[in-house]
């Protein structure tokens, strides 16, 4: 399979296999008109199989969203065809405006323009809880 190399943009690598499409949607990549490749089930020594997303545009990437949804991914930053930075994305301490609290009793369900904000409460098990009602976040939303 041939995919053109990137001139200016990002390669999101080590996405757990099967999560690439969801991450593509969450990052809103379908709205961009640049070249984007979503490669699924790429053989990986470390992971067995992985997904990769290549974006040929210098966009603003929501790293918190990437870290929450696909922890341990690597974001490679390409400038003028050269890899200039390799970022390992850790779990962010806070997630603001990334996911929504689903608890109907939470103040976020009715307060005007209140950003949904979650805090990492258990890094080992990737648990995030709403800062307002402590409801556990789900990666399946």
């Amino acid at each position: 399979m041939n995919i053109d190399s990137i001139h200016n943009g990002f390669v999101i690598d080590h996405i757990p296999a099967g999560r690439g499409m969801k991450l593509y949607e969450l990052l809103g990549l379908d709205a961009l008109d640049c070249s984007i490749a979503l490669i699924k089930n790429v053989p990986s020594k470390k992971m067995g199989k992985k997904d990769i997303i290549k974006i040929d545009a210098d966009i603003s990437l929501n790293l918190d969203l990437i870290g929450f949804f696909a922890p341990d991914v690597t974001v490679n930053i390409i400038r003028d065809g050269v890899l200039v930075e390799k970022k390992s994305i850790a779990l962010p301490e806070y997630l603001t405006g990334v996911i929504r609290c689903k608890n109907p009793r939470c103040i976020t369900s009715c307060e005007q323009e209140l950003a949904h904000k979650f805090k990492l409460t258990d890094a080992e098990n990737h648990v995030y809880r709403c800062i307002y009602c402590e409801t556990k976040a789900s990666t399946e939303q």
């Binding site: 009793r105 976020t108 369900s109 307060e111 209140l114 307002y132």
Partner: protein
């Protein structure tokens, strides 16, 4: 601006100092009678709670301050659609400190983020009720002499009982506290409280459905009401509401110095025949709640630079 939204907003040292102040208020009430002169407490009660509101109001009045507020959201701007955040900003212009009760979980945190004065969470839905926890801690410390090395049984609704979750969170920071969880299967303590608090802090705990079997082990028994308002389904409420009723007979195997607590109001889960038993401490707990709220108002107003 320091507020109290969750009991864990305060360090153990801060909690202990607050309880010391409450003890001093009990011993020397006159010393505190004018500490909050010309200061105003706003009690913003978006859902009914006679007890907590009156306790806060009595606390402020005994400190020499005054009280403004409401106890029915129907008569406020929130019924016109005003946000909690805007309400907090407006009230900051009128009062020196806010005590807020709201049916939505997290509403007092939203208020604290917007207000320019301290905010006290006076209960946010089924979530937190930190001043009840302070009252529980003060009562236990006064009755048992310490907040360390004792066995506490929580009985009744441990699933929706916010006072139980908050007290477990608070006690997990003290040494040698052993927890016995007594509830029907449907109302067990949520697993996240067990894993995030008890397991993580290495607190020894057991779970049972049999109150009488564990009664002899207990130094403190914390009874709770099965709360109708926490159920979506009345059928479930009716089935579970009478799960545990404490009677004099059930106390025969209890320790002579057992301390029986209940956040009140009670419905029928503690027989009135127990009220005269010296081990019944739930009305002392109400009194402790007022004194600890006095100590809290003093602490927050001092830290906000509003009193010396």
């Amino acid at each position: 601006m320091k507020s109290l939204i969750d009991i864990l907003d305060f360090s153990v040292e801060e909690v202990n100092a607050l309880l010391d102040t409450a003890d001093d208020i009990i011993a020397n009430p006159d010393k505190y009678a004018e500490c909050c002169k010309r200061k105003k407490l706003a009690t913003l009660f978006f859902e009914p709670s006679t007890r907590t509101r009156l306790s806060f109001e009595a606390a402020m009045i005994e400190l020499g301050g005054s009280v403004i507020g409401f106890s029915d959201a129907q008569n406020t701007s929130s019924s016109k659609g005003e946000s909690v955040s805007d309400t907090a900003k407006v009230i900051s212009c009128y009062a020196d400190i806010i005590a807020m009760r709201h049916p939505k979980e997290g509403a007092p945190l939203v208020a604290a983020q917007a207000a320019s004065i301290p905010v006290i969470n006076a209960g946010d839905g089924g979530h937190n009720h930190p001043t009840q926890t302070l009252a529980d801690l003060l009562t236990i410390r006064r009755e048992k002499g310490s907040l360390e090395n004792f066995t506490i049984g929580f009985c009744g609704d441990l699933k929706f009982g916010r006072t139980v979750h908050s007290l477990i969170n608070a006690l997990a920071r003290y040494e040698g506290v052993r927890v016995v969880l007594i509830s029907p299967d449907e109302l067990k303590l949520p697993s996240y409280v067990k894993t995030d608090v008890l397991d993580r802090k290495g607190i020894s705990y057991t779970q049972t459905t049999d109150l009488e079997a564990v009664m002899p082990e207990l130094d403190v028994l914390y009874m709770t009401r099965v709360q109708k308002e926490r159920f979506f389904n009345e059928e479930d409420y009716l089935r579970l509401k009478d799960s545990y009723i404490l009677t004099p007979q059930k106390l025969t195997a209890a320790k002579k110095d057992l301390c029986i607590l209940h956040p009140l109001p009670r419905v029928n889960e503690i027989s009135v025949a127990i009220d005269d038993d010296p081990r019944a401490c739930y009305f002392k707990q109400v009194l402790c709640a007022k004194y600890v709220r006095m100590a809290l108002i003093l602490k927050l107003l001092k830290e906000a630079g509003k009193i010396v």
